[in-house]
C-alpha cells in the first residue's frame, strides 16, 4: 500500500505508521511541526529496515488551506497513493470544554468540519484514481450522546455519520471506507484520566485497524470488547441514560 497518514507523530497514528513500515508499506507523514515530522519520519525509516525513505509535509486540521498542498506533495513523493489514514483530532474533557467556548469551537471545527473537508479532497482524489481506502478515526463517543462526552461525542457522531454515508454512496465505485471507533486507549491523549476496564494499548489498536483494512471491514471497534459495550449502551432507554454516569 501507499499510505498517507495524518496524525502519525503520536499515539495510535504512530503505532499504525510503525506497523505499516515494518510490513513494507510506503508511508507519507502529515502533521504538525517540521521538527516533529522529521523525527517521526526518521523513526519510520529505521523501523522499516532503513531502506525505504519516508517523506513528510506539514498539514494542520485547523488550517484547511494546508490540505491541498499537503496531499499534492504526498502524491508527488509517493508517485500516487491508494490509502489515507486520519488519526489526528482534538480532545478535551467535557468539564474543560464547558468552561472554554473557544476551545469548544475549535474542537467541533477540527473534529468534524475540517476533518470532513480533508476527507472530501481525499475522496475526490481516490475516486479519480478508480478507488482506494480511506480510514478515519472516529470514536465510541459518537455512538450515543452521553454525559461525560457531550461535545466531543457530538463532533465524532457527525464524523461517523459522514463516513457511513460515504461508504453507502461510493462503495460500488471502489472507495473503501473504514471508520475506527476506539474506546479508551492508553495514549498521551488519555494520560492522567482514570482508565476503565478493557482499556487498550495503541499497538493493539493498530493491529486491529490494519487487519480491518485488509479485510475490507467498514467499521472497527478497538479494543473489540467495545463493540459489545456500545451495543448495550446504544440500547439503554433514555431514563437510564439520564441516571447513569457514563
Amino acid at each position: 500500500m501507499k499510505v498517507v497518514l495524518l496524525g502519525g507523530t503520536s499515539g495510535m497514528g504512530r503505532a499504525i505508521g510503525r506497523q505499516l513500515v515494518e510490513r513494507g508499506d510506503h508511508v507519507f507523514l502529515l502533521g504538525l511541526g517540521d521538527a516533529e515530522l522529521e523525527k517521526s519520519a526518521a523513526d519510520f525509516e529505521q523501523r522499516g529496515g532503513g531502506k525505504l525513505k519516508v517523506g513528510y509535509a506539514p498539514c494542520d486540521l485547523e488550517r484547511p488551506e494546508s490540505f491541498a498542498p499537503a496531499l499534492a506533495e504526498a502524491d508527488r513523493v509517493l508517485g500516487g497513493f491508494d490509502t489515507v489514514i486520519v488519526t489526528a483530532a482534538l480532545f478535551a474533557t467535557q468539564e474543560r470544554l464547558e468552561q472554554d467556548i473557544e476551545l469548544t469551537r475549535r474542537l467541533l471545527t477540527v473534529n468534524f468540519a475540517n476533518t470532513v473537508v480533508f476527507c472530501e479532497q481525499v475522496r475526490a482524489y481516490l475516486l479519480g484514481r478508480g478507488g482506494g481506502r480511506l480510514c478515519v478515526f472516529s470514536s465510541v463517543a459518537g455512538d450515543r450522546g452521553r454525559k461525560p462526552v457531550v461535545l466531543y461525542g457530538a463532533s465524532k457522531a457527525g464524523l461517523s455519520a459522514y463516513l457511513e454515508g460515504l461508504d453507502h454512496r461510493y462503495h460500488a465505485q471502489g472507495l473503501q471506507i473504514l471508520c475506527v471507533k476506539p474506546g479508551f486507549v492508553r495514549t498521551s491523549m488519555t494520560e492522567g484520566l482514570k482508565a476503565p476496564p478493557f482499556a487498550g494499548e495503541p499497538e493493539g489498536v493498530a493491529k486491529q485497524v490494519l487487519t480491518a483494512l485488509d479485510n475490507r471491514r467498514p467499521v472497527v471497534y478497538a479494543p473489540a470488547m467495545w463493540a459489545w459495550v456500545m451495543r448495550v449502551i446504544r440500547n439503554l432507554p433514555r431514563f437510564v441514560m439520564r441516571k447513569v454516569g457514563f
Binding site: T9, R14, K39, A42, Q46, R47, G50, T187, E191
Partner: protein, 450 residues
C-alpha cells in the same frame, strides 16, 4: 503493559521491588516539553528501590516510555541515536534481524535507553566490554534552569561523565547516541558448568572469562559448610554463521504471573528446595548447546511480573562488588549475614567485573559482584546495613539501581567519588531541580534542600 512498574492511583509509584512512595507519573511523546519543571524522569521503573521514586513533597515524574523514536542509525559505524524512552526489547526486536545488538545488555530487556545511561548498566560481558556508558557517544539533556545541552567526552565532559550512572540527577536524558555492535548470527552458543564450591565457582568464572565474552554464575547461598556458594556457571558467545540454524531466532512468549503470591512464600525453606532443584537439574557437570539470546541474557523475562512472587511486601536487592583477592571470603560473610537473619536470597548472581569505567558514580570496578534478592521484612534495613559493613570491609561498593535501604553514612564510606559527582551536579543544577527519593535518602538532596 506488564513489563513496566505501573503507578497505582492509591499506593503511588514503585520500583521493581514494589515498595511504594506517594506520587505519579505523566507520559507524553513530547519529552522535551513534558520534562520541563519535573524533578525526575523515569522509564519502565525497573530499578528495584527508590531511584525512580519521588522525593518527599514532589508529585509528578516525567514518564519517558512514549518518547521512543529511533532518530538515526549508521549502518557503517553502528552509531544509533534514539529518544530516551526506547525500550531495549524493541531495539532487539528491530535490530536482531539486521544483525546488530547493544554492546552491553543488562539482565532484563525491559529497560529504556535513558535508564541504561542513568544506571550505567553492565552485563555479562563487563569483564571485556565495560559498562554501557563506555559505548555512549553523546547525550542530549535538559539540565538546570531549562538549558538543553549536548554532552559527550568532547563537549561538556564533566556533565557527560556525571550523567553515566548519575541516576538521572544531573538532568533529564532526552536522547542517547551509542555504538551498536555487529553480531554474526541471532543465535548463541551457551555452555554451563555445575560447580560444587564457591571458591571453585569463582576460579572457573575468572578462568572461563578469559575466553568467553559473556559469563555469570547462579549460586546457592543456603547449604552449610564447603557446599555453601556452590552453583552453576553460565557462559555464552555469539554463534558464527553455520554453527546454528540459518533462520532468525525468536523471543519466547513470556508467562505472566497474574497476581501477587503471598508474602513469605519465599523463605529459607522453600528457597532451599528451589535451589536444590535448580542445582541438581543440571545433571551433567557440563552442558553445551545453541541457545537464543533471550535465554542467555534475559532468563527472568520469561516470567512477566515475576516480582509478584514476593507478595505485597515486595523485595529489595543488594548488589555489591568487592575486591577480587578476598572475594570468596566476602561472599561467604554476606551469606552468613542472611543465615543469621533467617532469610535467604531467591536468585543469587555472581559476576566478574572488569575495569572501572569513567562514569563518576558508575557501579562496577575490578572485583567480584554479588547480587542478592532479599524479601522485604521488618528487618530488611538492618540486614542491608550488615551486608554493607561486609562490603566496606572488603573495599567494595553497592549498585544504586538496586538499592532502597542503604544509609547515607554507609554509602559515603563506600563512595570517595561522591563529592566530585555532587560538585558537577551543583554546576549544572544549581537549584537542585533534579532529585529523587534516593538522592534525598543518600545525599540529603530532596525537594526542600538547597
Amino acid at each position: 503493559m506488564s513489563v513496566r512498574a505501573v503507578p497505582d492511583p492509591d499506593r503511588g509509584l514503585c520500583g521493581w521491588g514494589r515498595t511504594y512512595l506517594p506520587g505519579t507519573e505523566v507520559r507524553s511523546e513530547q519529552l522535551t516539553q513534558l520534562s520541563a519543571g519535573k524533578p525526575l524522569a523515569r522509564g519502565l521503573g525497573r530499578s528495584y528501590g527508590d531511584a525512580s521514586l519521588l522525593a518527599r513533597g514532589d508529585r509528578v515524574a516525567a514518564g519517558t516510555t512514549l518518547a521512543d523514536r529511533i532518530l538515526s542509525f549508521d549502518e557503517e559505524t553502528g552509531l544509533l541515536t534514539a529518544e530516551a524512552g526506547l525500550c531495549l526489547a524493541e531495539l532487539n526486536r528491530l535490530f536482531f534481524p539486521r544483525l546488530w545488538f547493544t554492546p552491553v545488555s543488562p539482565g532484563t530487556k525491559f529497560v529504556t535507553l535513558g535508564g541504561m545511561v542513568a544506571s550505567d548498566i553492565h552485563g555479562k560481558n563487563h569483564h571485556v566490554a565495560g559498562t554501557f556508558g563506555k559505548h555512549v557517544k553523546s547525550i542530549l539533556l535538559r539540565t538546570g534552569r531549562g538549558r538543553i545541552v549536548r554532552a559527550s567526552r568532547e563537549e561538556n565532559e564533566d556533565l557527560f561523565l556525571a550523567t553515566l550512572g548519575g541516576m538521572g540527577l544531573t538532568g533529564h536524558i532526552l536522547e542517547v547516541s551509542f555504538t551498536m555492535r555487529r553480531i554474526p548470527s541471532t543465535w548463541m552458543i551457551g555452555e554451563s558448568h555445575r560447580v560444587d564450591s564457591l571458591q571453585a565457582l569463582l576460579d572457573l568464572l575468572i578462568e572461563k572469562g578469559q575466553t568467553w565474552p559473556y559469563s555469570a554464575a547462579w549460586c546457592d547461598t543456603l547449604p552449610r559448610g564447603g557446599q555453601r556458594g556452590r552453583g552453576i556457571l553460565f557462559l555464552g558467545r555469539w554463534a558464527e554463521q553455520g554453527e546454528a540454524a540459518p533462520q532468525l531466532s525468536h523471543s519466547p512468549r513470556a508467562v505472566p504471573i497474574p497476581f501477587e503470591l503471598p508474602s513469605g512464600l519465599l523463605n529459607r525453606f522453600t528457597i532451599g528446595i528451589f535451589n536444590s532443584l535448580v542445582y541438581w537439574s543440571h545433571v551433567r557437570r557440563t552442558k553445551r548447546g545453541v541457545i537464543t539470546p533471550d535465554a542467555c541474557f534475559y532468563p527472568l523475562d520469561a516470567f512477566h511480573n515475576w516480582n509478584r512472587a514476593y507478595g505485597r511486601r515486595g523485595v529489595t536487592q543488594h548488589q555489591s562488588v568487592v575486591a577480587r583477592e578476598t572475594g570468596a571470603e566476602a561472599l561467604l560473610e554476606m551469606m552468613k549475614v542472611l543465615e543469621s537473619a533467617h532469610t535467604a536470597s531467591f536468585l543469587t548472581v555472581v559476576k566478574d567485573c572488569g575495569a572501572e569505567g569513567d562514569g563518576l558514580l558508575s557501579f562496577p570496578k575490578p572485583g567480584i559482584s554479588l547480587a542478592l534478592d532479599i524479601p522485604i521484612t521488618a528487618r530488611s534495613t538492618e540486614i542491608i546495613a550488615q551486608l554493607n559493613q561486609v562490603v566496606i570491609a572488603h573495599q567494595g561498593r553497592i549498585y544504586l539501581t538496586k538499592d532502597g535501604l542503604t544509609s547515607a553514612s554507609d554509602f559515603q564510606r563506600m563512595e570517595p567519588r561522591l563529592e566530585r559527582f555532587l560538585e558537577v551536579k551543583r554546576r549544572w543544577d544549581p537549584d537542585n531541580e533534579f532529585r529523587s527519593a534516593q538522592s534525598e535518602r543518600l545525599f540529603g538532596l530532596g525537594a526542600t534542600a538547597t
